[in-house]
Symmetry: C2
Subunit: 381 residues, 2 copies
Amino acid sequence: MTDSQDIPAVGMVGGGQLARMTQQAAIALGVPLRVLSDSTHASAARVIADVRVGDHRSLDDLRTFAKDSDVVTFDHEHVPGEHIRALEDAGVACRPGSAALLHAQDKRVMRERLSAHGVPVPRFAPVATLADVEAFGAWPVVLKAARGGYDGKGVWVCESPAEARGVVERAVAEGVGLLAEEHVPFRRELAALVARSPYGQGAAYPIVETVQRDGICHEVIAPAPGLDDELAEHAQRLALGIADALGVTGLLAVELFETGDGVLVNELAMRPHNSGHWTIEGARTSQFEQHLRAVLDLPLGDTTPTAPYVVMANVLGGDDPAVYRRYIHVMAHDPAVKVHFYGKEVRPGRKIGHVTALGDDLEDARERARHAAGYLGGGSA
Amino acid sequence: MTDSQDIPAVGMVGGGQLARMTQQAAIALGVPLRVLSDSTHASAARVIADVRVGDHRSLDDLRTFAKDSDVVTFDHEHVPGEHIRALEDAGVACRPGSAALLHAQDKRVMRERLSAHGVPVPRFAPVATLADVEAFGAWPVVLKAARGGYDGKGVWVCESPAEARGVVERAVAEGVGLLAEEHVPFRRELAALVARSPYGQGAAYPIVETVQRDGICHEVIAPAPGLDDELAEHAQRLALGIADALGVTGLLAVELFETGDGVLVNELAMRPHNSGHWTIEGARTSQFEQHLRAVLDLPLGDTTPTAPYVVMANVLGGDDPAVYRRYIHVMAHDPAVKVHFYGKEVRPGRKIGHVTALGDDLEDARERARHAAGYLGGGSA
């Protein structure tokens, strides 16, 4: 089962940038990493020796892939839960397991489970008709597809019944389950990133602020500036508690709303997360190494930051696909900014990379990260 | 010529751990990295998607390899200079070029060239017979193979003519050119690591101390403890000056002896170097990223250290090839130590990985690095 010596092989389903960056950590640890990717040209497939081309929705492909891996993990939430259960029934170590991952796949299940555990979440209700939405009785209302949404997709903020009608009709037509949620008047968005191993060890990164525009994360600031110490510790404990309650193995990212009363849980992800890219240079253990350590049931790594402030900014594609010639300007302007490019085709608005700036001064680090990301993206940011 | 967008492809000749770790940096920069390796099981070949199997001593293999690369570079010094010249004549961008690399391939040429530039080196003389060695007239004398030696191989410290006789006779029989050098009574060994781009930009890392045993590097301490500031700056300038004088493109590692009078140049390497592994976590730009930036003629990265002290210790193989089960102890004992394993077969005394410890306290960081490296190696260290 192993490429070399006695080191177990990790199979990651998905060939995106999360698998790509996991490879950097796998190289250091000597862990053979293979991916199940729909193409040899996917972001991760370009940088990993052992790429299996297949469909993550095919149980046959998953079974074949799992055969050569000691542990199976995921770079996205789109593998059908019944397939993961089938692998588990066949004795495959899936981390996270299907029972945990369900809460990152189905927002209704997640909301209900967290509520039952006393975790603060926005007021919500499953809705099937416009009458249900009107009965929910909060305007503006946030309508969400229970499954399949991410990066602002599958989320609609409706000001009136007239706006909600179109969303409900389309959801019914497409067989998509809907959730209504109160529109939380949050101060800002935060994220908690923790890891949990099968052995039960937990580790938490500092709470970060995420700056979103149009539902897409543009910037992550670690640690969240001016966050009350007690609230930060509360948010870390909350995330560790959720990981424990749900039996998560691997990383758990908890997207939070900060309100006047504390924090509410918005979304969960059980994998390396955009809000944790800053850890590559900004923490003693990157989230990618931490995920590998957790799914392999190794002791978790130190999460201490490497600088007072770390700012990550996403690079969004612009109209000009020629990114490389922009490297010269960005690197000459700021020799310390770290450039990450995912090897994806450039399309306007697509996340094609990120940059990280570290420093003692928050505003300086933000300005450096924004400048580099904006310039690399070619002006769309 | 490129895998994605407009990013040039780098071809690295050699499939060892230096190419392997270069892949971590190439992933971040989105640079397609391919290697020419003698086996698909080599350290780098295990972690790179585009592996070309071939012989670095075959001009045909090199020509074929170079065809798909925008820039060719090297993870070792063993490519024949005439082959690199043939590639250059055919228009291939080789970085470093053959004229520079010769000084890392032939110690006699290096000594003569550096002497001519006024760079302090140990007293030396080419020797062909025992009479030449006796005429050199310094005992103990260091005899060195002019070409092909590394990690203590090809270096013999002889106390007497009787000892030297055997070395000379074997060298003559094998057609190996010999150099006699004075045995420098150095205080300690240092290393300077710099980068130089084709554009002519230079960048220097802090001077480090390297701790050798039996000619093999065991430990690297950054920065070299207690080193006089003026001498440190002098050593950096010396290395930058050598890079400039020799027209190096890429990294240049300069191994130094610190004596009562200053520093003497021992060896040169024009590639990522064991004395720079600490930069992966210990500097804002790793030596591997810096090498890629230099050979691609991109602006060089910030070399600022990320901690007051960074200690790297090599993991040498022991009798027990089962390394992975040792991870648990090492990671549980010290969640902050960084483990690097090269995916090589474990053989007693072979460099199979390294560990890095960062900290405010030198002795603490040394103790942590030594403990982790010793334990991972299984007791041979």
